[in-house]
């Protein structure tokens, strides 16, 4: 049997340290390219399944440009046998604010690749960290006409050869064990940590070719379209508590001023002596005390 694990390379935009709201406070150079952690968990489940049942081929399938190649190879080193990439052509990504095809198109390309590779079990993450639509797994199952179990946490061989046993968490601590016929599409929840590749496998993975699948892309019209994308709100600023001795009007205007008016203050640290010195200096500097020294 062949297990196909779909892994997505994402641009992990974790740091909002930029100044520009247009770029959503992200600095392009801060981006981290990695594999969607949900997909890594799916790969780990596949590897565990193989450990348990014996020889199956595990094929990694990714979509789009190689933005995180070293991470792809790390996944290969962790135990997969083959790395395939669907070269996207003829898909306009410009209209999409996240510069990605919509889930429907992605699922379509993946489905045809899975058919081409002849996968008997397809695993993917339940959602991605960058877009988080959570649709691709389900759409893939739909297109392939396979059963689908979402957000699984464990995978093992079933009692019969054409079945597998899947565990998923049904929320509130409820665990659900599902008997699922093969072939099937499973999407994985986070939980299984991808194993550490050994050094020899890493070296091997570096020398492996990435197989490009360039089957012509049939452009399916997007079913849903992103109409607008709002940038995240800037980080909240701390509004100082209004000074209770002020008249109501001033207090309200202070609140309304919000973060614009920062409460000025200086925190003195150090030994009591140094703090006392600091206070005296402050009082002198602001004219509360007259210095007798000069």
């Amino acid at each position: 049997m062949k297990i196909i694990v779909c892994i997505k390379q994402i641009c992990h935009t974790y740091a909002r340290t930029g100044q520009n709201p247009e770029s959503r406070y992200l600095n392009p150079e801060d981006a981290i390219y990695r594999i969607n952690p949900y997909d890594e968990a799916a790969l780990e489940l596949a590897l565990r399944f193989r450990d348990q049942t014996g020889p199956v081929d595990i094929i990694l399938l990714t979509l789009g440009p190689l933005i995180a190649e070293s991470e792809l190879r790390r996944c290969l080193a962790a135990g997969a046998d083959q790395l395939c990439r669907i070269v996207l052509s003829g898909i306009a990504t410009e209209n999409d604010p996240l510069l990605q095809p919509d889930p429907w198109t992605k699922a379509d390309s993946l489905a045809r690749a899975v058919t081409e590779l002849g996968g008997g079990l397809v695993l993917c993450g339940k959602e991605s960290l960058d877009r988080g639509s959570g649709q691709v797994g389900a759409l893939l199952a739909h297109l392939l006409k396979m059963p689908c179990v979402s957000a699984i946490t464990d995978l093992s061989a079933g009692t019969a050869a054409d079945h597998i046993r899947v565990q998923r968490s049904a929320g509130r601590g409820v665990r659900e064990v599902i008997r699922c016929p093969l072939p099937a599409v499973l999407s994985a929840d986070m939980g299984a940590d991808l194993r550490l590749p050994v050094f020899a496998r890493r070296q091997w993975a570096l020398s492996q070719p990435i197989q490009n699948l360039t089957s012509p892309v049939i452009k399916r019209p997007a079913q849903v379209v992103t109409a607008r994308l709002s940038p995240p709100r800037p980080r909240p600023k701390i509004v100082p508590v209004p000074d209770s001795r002020l008249p109501a009007y001033d207090r309200v205007s202070q609140l309304l001023a919000g973060s614009k008016m920062e409460k000025k203050g200086e925190l003195l640290t150090g030994s009591p002596e140094s703090q006392v010195d600091g206070i005296i200096n402050y009082l002198k500097a602001n004219g509360f005390l007259e210095s007798h020294n000069d």
Binding site: Y14, A15, T17, N27, E29, D30, I32, R34, E71, R74, D193, R195, L196, P197, V198, F199, A200, R202, T269, G270, S271, E273, S274, D277, G278
Partner: protein, 636 residues
């Protein structure tokens, strides 16, 4: 002194020497054959090591006993050898020498008895029983020697007190003036000496050759350096004894199983499974059994795994504190073997303790131990006058290396800011690498992921080269050790100093004034990577002494024999299984010493000790602070 040797005796001595050298050659071929011919030894310090035995004297009672036995053997040997060459002294000095020999003999007798009693008193777990045979032979040599001497005195000077041989005289009182008896004793004495020489390679006496040899070949560069791996050739740590270097095998050969490493190992003391002595002994016995055998003779499975003899639970317990290396009387280093075991476990088997996986993954992707990402690396310096190295801050005196802890950990961020305050006050032109800085790689290296370490190191070295950095000041002793002692092997030579040393230099140069007093009792906790690894003991103490009012005291275990906080060697990220927590053991010691402040200079120590003292729930919890913070506060 007339030569007593006949042709038969010469033959016997010759035979004994033959057996010894052939035996040594055979027993040691397994490591000798691996030795690169270039590896040169170092004579410096060797004579002092052999003659003064300061390393052994660190434990006074045993040390003195050992010294007595040593000189008790060596002095008569020298005299006898000299006598063979017709070397004759006038009567006066000859008698003095005789007296000396007699007294040494007595000391040696006492020493041997002490060591024997000690050995028999210990259970086999604590030390080797194989010294007993050696002690027995030594005792036979001693007693027959004194008996022969007594008989000789009785024949030559019957009834007289021989001042030059008081012990012999005592024996003489009970002995017949029989030449036959004397001859018999001399023969026995002589035979025992020959046996002693002959069994050297096969008995505990081996250490008399192996230990000086190990000292001769001891590592030159930085202390307790790890073995350099060449990953490209598939050298990924110690799977079996065959992957160890000849020097590591010689280490094991020289180990006398004295157990001093174990007595000072924080893991052993706190009740973990790990014993560095056992590590050395297991390597020794595996090397003995499999070191010389042909690889083919193991069949498919290859030579037995080292991890079968030394379990992962043992080698993951090591904090890489270097106490074992510092205390070893024969300069053996259990530490680099432990790390080699980890390396194979991680890079060969992919087995890293679960708790540390997230951290290693973060290091891999984000380049820092907390997984916050390089973009946030300079957050601690936000809105502060901290220049980042780049075109506009090209001319700097120093590059301040902040490190992961100083960049991300809220507690250590304070220390980074304190350091900035000090530098600004002193008018030092400095800069940080900012977002270009990555973890120095120490946690990855100590946890056995050498590949990751090398990658991180290369990234950093690139930055150093890009800005032609020359002097780097680090806040964390682990960064200090890595940058200073481990980057050179990757082709990066920098002057690296620790913050405490650098600030002390500023104080000495009069660029800082510490005015605000702090009337507290403080003790310095020596961080392993600052003290034992890099020998910085003075600067932290001097800094504290310069703070007005601060009373400096010492903890029970300090300086070279300081006790680890439990956070090094990647253990910061691992759970402690079995026994007590190392940081609590240290915290109790701190509590017993009744200090108000513990000054340390390592972010790990800070966190570990703080947790430790707080867990004791004392009435007055000692404050754990970084010495840099204390200094910055005293600036006002």
């Amino acid at each position: 002194m007339k030569s007593l040797l006949t042709a038969v005796d010469v033959l016997l001595v010759f035979l004994a020497l033959m057996v010894m050298s052939l035996g040594l050659a055979r027993e040691w071929s397994y490591w000798w054959s691996k030795k690169e011919s270039r590896s040169a030894g170092n004579w410096a310090g060797l004579p002092a090591y052999i003659l003064q035995q300061r390393e052994i004297l660190r434990k006074p009672a045993v040390g003195i006993a050992h010294l007595c036995v040593f000189w008790g053997v060596v002095l008569p040997m020298l005299v006898i050898i000299a006598a063979q060459f017709g070397f004759v002294l006038p009567v006066g000095p000859a008698h003095t020498l005789h007296l000396l020999q007699d007294i040494f003999g007595l000391f040696m007798l006492l020493g041997t008895l002490y060591l024997l009693r000690r050995r028999l008193g210990l259970s086999s777990g604590q030390g080797p029983q194989r010294t007993v045979l050696l002690m027995g032979i030594l005792l036979i040599i001693l007693i027959t020697g004194f008996l022969a001497e007594g008989a000789r005195l009785e024949i030559l000077y019957p009834g007289e007190f021989s001042w030059f041989s008081p012990v012999g005289w005592v024996f003489a009182q009970a002995l017949p003036a029989s030449p036959l008896f004397m001859q018999g004793m001399i023969r026995l004495h002589f035979l025992a000496v020959c046996v002693l020489i002959a069994i050297t390679p096969f008995s505990f006496l081996r250490h008399a050759v192996a230990a000086p040899l190990n000292v001769f070949f001891r590592k030159q560069g930085p202390r307790a350096a790890l073995r350099e791996l060449s990953l490209e050739t598939g050298d990924i740590g110690a799977k079996s004894v065959r992957n160890l270097s000849w020097k590591q095998l010689l280490d094991a050969e020289a180990c006398v199983a004295c157990g001093r490493c174990e007595e000072n190992c924080p893991a052993s003391i706190s009740g973990k499974l790990l014993s560095p002595r056992k590590v050395m002994q297991q390597i020794y016995s595996q090397a003995k059994t499999f070191g010389g055998a042909q690889t083919e003779s193991f069949g498919q499975s290859g030579p037995p795994l080292l991890a079968d003899a030394i379990s992962p639970e043992e080698f993951w317990a090591c904090t890489s504190c270097m106490a074992c290396v510092a205390q070893c009387p024969v300069c053996a280093e259990p530490l680099d073997k432990i790390i080699d075991l980890r390396r194979y476990q991680v890079m060969g088997e992919g087995q890293l303790p679960v708790e540390a996986r997230g951290m290693i993954r973060d290091l891999d992707i984000y380049g820092d131990v907390q997984g916050k990402g390089a973009a946030h690396r300079e957050d601690w310096a936000m809105h502060r006058a901290v220049p980042v190295l780049g075109p506009e801050a090209a001319e700097t005196d120093i590059l301040l290396w902040v490190g992961c802890a100083g960049s991300y950990h809220p507690r250590n961020q304070q220390t980074s800011r304190a350091m900035v305050k000090i530098l600004l006050t002193a008018g030092v032109r400095f800069a940080i690498l900012g977002k270009a800085e990555r973890c120095c790689g120490d946690p990855a290296r100590r946890l056995g992921d050498e590949a990751l370490f090398q990658r991180l190191a290369q990234q950093n070295i690139e930055q150093f080269n890009r800005y032609s950095a020359h002097t780097v000041v680090t806040l964390c002793p682990h960064c200090l050790n890595t940058l200073k002692n481990e980057y050179p092997a990757l082709g990066c030579q920098l002057t690296v100093v620790h913050a405490t040393e650098y600030v002390m230099g500023l104080l000495d140069a009069g660029r800082l004034q510490l005015k605000y007093p702090l009337a507290k009792k403080l003790a310095v906790h020596d961080a392993c990577y600052l003290g034992r690894y890099n020998g910085v003991y003075k600067a932290p103490r001097q800094l504290c002494q310069n703070v007005p009012g601060l009373m400096l005291s010492e903890l029970t275990r300090s300086r070279e024999s300081s006790f680890c906080c439990g956070g090094g060697g990647g253990r910061m990220w691992l759970h402690e299984h079995g026994g007590r927590n190392i940081n609590v053991v240290r915290a109790e010691e701190i509590a017993e010493n009744h200090v108000e402040i513990i000054g340390t200079s390592c972010p790990y120590c800070l966190v570990m000790l703080d947790d430790g003292v707080k867990s004791l729930e004392l009435e007055k919890t000692p404050v754990v602070s970084d010495i840099i913070d204390i200094v910055a506060d005293a600036l006002g």
